[in-house]
Amino acid sequence: MSHEHVSNTKRIWTVFGILSVITIVEVFFGITKPEFLHMNNFLSMNLLNWLFIILTLVKAYYIVYAFMHMEGEKSVLRYAVILPLIFLVIYLLFILLTEGNYVFEVFKNSTIKWNF
């Protein structure tokens, strides 16, 4: 069996601590919006948004691996669940965001005003 039925309350509270700290950091940066992060871009997205997205992925990792106990499952189950998700989501985001940006430019450069 994948889990040995030992109590791991300590791990649960550690993960709760990590998730709480990350949320507090996110909220702190969300309220203060420090200039050096908000005004500097990396790959056409500002550093603040990069920070938020990375922290979100870290949170997602802990929820799936610790709370949903993915770390105790067989690797075949682990990858059957995670790999399709990662691949499809990245693919979908790439397609839709590129297209959204293109439509924005079409509107912006067109001779017809659409919102005035």
């Binding site: 109590s7 908000h38 997205i53 949903m68 499952e73 075949v76 059957a80 940006n101 919102n115």
Partner: protein, 341 residues
């Protein structure tokens, strides 16, 4: 439950009669349900991203929209309330995982207590979301829509938002709400805004220190710095553009509708799609939380009745636990996409 014979499956992992993925049928199917549901939510959030990129210059800024905190009326506090909601959900995830843990040790009472706490957490979250929706629908300041479909909001000389009620004039005009008891039974209309366009226009004229704030997010550039229509004292980089007084008056002559609060057609925050996505995505997530609470209740009663004690396995708690953590996981992404980025 192993009801299938295992005699002939030695050496054949996928030959049937065993669990090649090391998880029971029920748990495996819960995982694959979660995969498909996660893809559904990804589709919604990606669609939100598409629309946001499409209207990237005029999309509402979240920290100006979600500013309500209970008992702090008139004191806008971005993020705080939604951070509280996030904590509630994370904490109910913790009690859920503790219930699963207690289930592994066959401690019936502990499982029941932790499940009960999880249900309470879920209910607080759904209630908070209802309150958030109420504020979003009611709106706070009100705005005006132009004939061209763009939204105009009002600020004072310090750049602070001003509600329509604070300046709109009262004109001797009567416009009665059409309701079904006044016309024929099929005749009614959407709730009328409190002020008419003429009243807002007259009020704006009478208050010379008011300005109009447009939907457009201001970007510092040599060209925009020379733009004589923009009030450069009040407008800040990466904030909404505030117009000069003369341009504000000109723009207000184009007003065609007064918008208060939000519905699926238009909202006072900006882009029309913004409210649609907000209602749909947080609504769909809230529905998941609600179903999670209902399922948790069923499992809770089963725990109390001793169903799993008789079964000698608390795996059902584990399965609903997976679903409950998934709901938390989705909220982590909704939180980032709607309130942070």
């Amino acid at each position: 439950m192993e009801t299938v014979t295992t005699e002939n499956s030695v050496g054949k992992t996928w030959g049937g009669g065993n669990e090649p993925m090391g998880a029971s049928y029920g748990k495996l199917m819960m995982w694959f349900f979660i995969v498909s549901d996660a893809l559904t939510f990804s589709g919604f959030l990606a669609a939100y991203g598409f629309s946001r990129f499409k209207f990237i210059e005029t999309w509402p800024l979240a920290d100006e929209v979600f500013t309500h905190v209970p008992f702090m009326h008139g004191n806008p506090q971005p993020m705080l309330y939604v951070a509280f909601m996030t904590f509630i959900l994370i904490f109910s995830s913790v009690t859920m995982v503790l219930a699963v843990d207690a289930g592994h040790q066959m401690k019936k009472d502990k499982v029941a207590v932790y499940l009960f706490l999880t249900i309470i957490g879920g209910l607080i979250f759904v209630g908070s979301q209802a309150w958030e929706w109420k504020n979003f629908i009611k709106g706070e300041y009100g705005a005006v829509e132009t004939k061209g479909g763009s939204l105009l909001q009002f600020v004072d000389k310090d750049g602070k938002r001003v509600a329509l009620a604070e300046f709109a004039a009262t004109l001797p005009e009567e416009r009665e709400q059409l309701t079904r008891n006044k016309g024929r039974w099929f005749m009614d209309e959407a709730t009328l805004p409190e002020y008419s366009v003429a009243e807002v226009q007259a009020g704006f004229k009478a208050h010379p220190d008011l300005f109009i704030r447009t939907e457009t997010i201001y970007e510092d550039s040599p060209a925009s710095e020379k733009d004589s229509k923009i009030n450069h004292e009040l407008t800040k980089h990466k904030h909404k553009t505030i117009l000069t007084r003369s341009e504000s008056e000109l723009r207000l002559t184009q007003a065609s509708l007064v918008v208060e609060g939000a519905n699926l057609t238009r909202n006072e925050y900006g882009s029309k799609l913004f409210a649609d996505f907000f209602f749909f995505i947080t609504g769909f997530h809230g529905f998941h939380v609600f179903s999670g609470v209902v399922i948790n209740c069923i499992i809770f009663f089963n725990v109390i009745l001793g169903t799993y004690e008789k079964r000698r396995s608390y795996e059902m708690v584990e399965k609903v636990g997976l679903y409950w953590h998934f709901v938390d996981l989705v909220w982590v992404f909704v939180f980032t996409v709607f309130y942070l980025v």
